[in-house]
């Protein structure tokens, strides 16, 4: 019988497979453990980022125009809903300003420097988005020069969208919360329920439902759909009080021992043109 492959070909394929798997797992392991990529990679990424900036100008303009046309169709209905909400927002804004002022004054009296809720922001523009099956990452136009560091949370529109996964000199990568890798969405969060708070971390993302998962919750506090979820600030790098989303549903885990909470993310992960990086004043020190 004629052999499909010679022994030499089979050996070559096996060796190539081992080398490739080693390369993928090795570089994945290394990227998790280093704050910035090696010099050569950083240099090529900065160069590539420059080219990307030029190319993104027309494509972003086309995308924005298409979005604007889409939004225009819903404008009337949206306008009515927003008008109904605006009075409530005005009241909330006044109350927030009063509370912020009171908070500043109390901190001063106590001699506190920075707390978990203190953070400054760095604005950035999205210049590229990885056209990949997994690891949906954005490339933004701010890097080491703007004071960004790996692990910092990134916000867009209504809430948190991910965290910085790699920092180059003039650009950075943002791993989105829809990514299941540990770098992307392991945030310490808190859920404000009627009967008290529940603290925990995001343990995963259900891409088929487009929902974040908070697993292994053993607290007896009652949580219901619609309860607000925000970052708790535990760990120091991510400030407290960043809006994550709303509780979508609560289920029991596979063994019925703990709760699993599904969270609807507040931010639209599809349309991200500008972002804000939250730099914790505690983490920065």
């Amino acid at each position: 019988m004629r052999k499909l492959f010679s022994s030499r070909t089979v050996v070559t394929i096996i060796i190539a497979f081992i080398v490739i798997v080693g390369l993928i797992t090795g570089s994945n392991w290394l990227s998790k453990r280093t704050n910035t990529p090696p010099f050569v990679q950083r240099f090529s990424n900065d160069l590539a980022g420059g080219v990307s900036r030029l190319i993104s100008v027309p494509t972003t303009a086309i995308g924005r125009t298409a979005n604007s046309i889409g939004n225009l169709l819903d404008t009337f209905e949206e306008n009515q809903i927003l008008k109904a909400k605006i009075d409530q927002f005005a009241q909330d804004k006044v109350r927030l300003q009063t509370v912020e002022e009171e908070n500043r004054s109390l901190k001063k009296q106590l001699g506190l420097q920075a707390t978990l809720t203190d953070f400054k922001t760095v604005s950035a523009v999205t210049i590229s988005r990885s056209p990949t099956t997994w690891q949906s990452q954005l490339v933004i136009n701010q890097g080491i020069k703007a004071g960004l560091k790996k692990g910092m949370p990134v916000l867009s529109g209504a809430g948190i969208i991910g965290r910085i996964s790699e920092v180059n000199t003039t650009n950075s990568k943002v791993a989105l919360i829809s990514d299941t890798s540990e770098d992307a969405n392991r945030f310490a969060i808190t859920i404000k329920g009627n009967s008290g708070e529940i603290n925990g971390i995001i343990t995963g993302f259900n891409r088929e439902k487009n929902q974040l998962i908070m697993g292994q919750v053993t607290s007896d506090n009652t949580i219901k759909a619609g309860d607000l979820v925000e970052t708790s600030g535990l760990g120091g790098v991510i400030p407290s009080g960043l809006f994550v989303g709303k509780v979508a549903r609560v289920t029991k885990d596979d063994y019925g021992l703990s709760k699993r909470i599904y969270i609807e993310p507040a931010a639209d992960l599809g349309n991200i043109t500008t972002v804000v990086v939250a730099v914790s004043e505690i983490g920065a020190k």
Binding site: N28, A61, P131
Partner: protein, 175 residues
């Protein structure tokens, strides 16, 4: 180097290949609201379409084609994912599959499209399984096929057909 030499296919092809690598990311970012509208995940793969044209119109006879394919994959890995291997292998194997299919199929548009289909499916399947190797795969194979493979193939095959004859004429002009 005289100016006319810059307009030869061995210069123009890799320059456009390099350019398209960033076009994919820019399109994904600019049109993200459409390409990643839940539950869809559509990938613009202009780079792979350009490699398909390269194979179909035999540009490998004019230049170190496989070095360019490898360099494209390495740059893609470095810039978009930061994890080396996945897309270098995906681009290389998808292009090899298209090259092998070309030896079996004839040179008509429909045969070319079949060849591109083999290439893009190989590309997507490799990236799917690479996700399993590093433990970041979070969708079932059915969801992957229905909401990613199907629309990605349809979108890119459409653009491959649109550009087929203009690119063929362009390559003939450059030669």
């Amino acid at each position: 180097m005289a100016f006319w030499q810059l307009t030869r296919i061995r210069v123009v092809y890799p320059v456009i290949l390099f350019f398209l690598l960033f076009v994919d990311g820019a399109v994904m970012s600019g049109m993200g609201a459409f390409f990643t509208a839940f539950p869809w995940h559509v990938l613009p793969l202009a780079t792979l379409i350009w490699l398909f044209y390269g194979v179909q119109f035999d540009v490998d006879k004019d230049m170190p084609f496989w070095i360019y394919v490898t360099a494209t994959g390495i740059l893609f890995d470095a810039y978009y994912t930061g994890i080396f291997g996945t897309y270098t292998v995906a681009f290389l194997i998808a292009t090899m599959v298209m090259k092998q299919a070309k030896n079996i199929l004839d040179e008509r548009l429909l045969s070319g499209l079949t060849m591109f289909l083999f290439g893009i499916l190989t590309f997507l399947v490799i990236t799917y399984f690479a996700g399993y190797i590093i433990g970041i795969a979070n969708v079932s194979i059915v969801t992957f096929l229905l909401f990613e493979v199907l629309p990605t193939v349809a979108l890119n095959a459409f653009f491959a057909v649109i550009g087929y004859f203009p690119v063929w004429s362009f390559f003939n002009f450059l030669r």
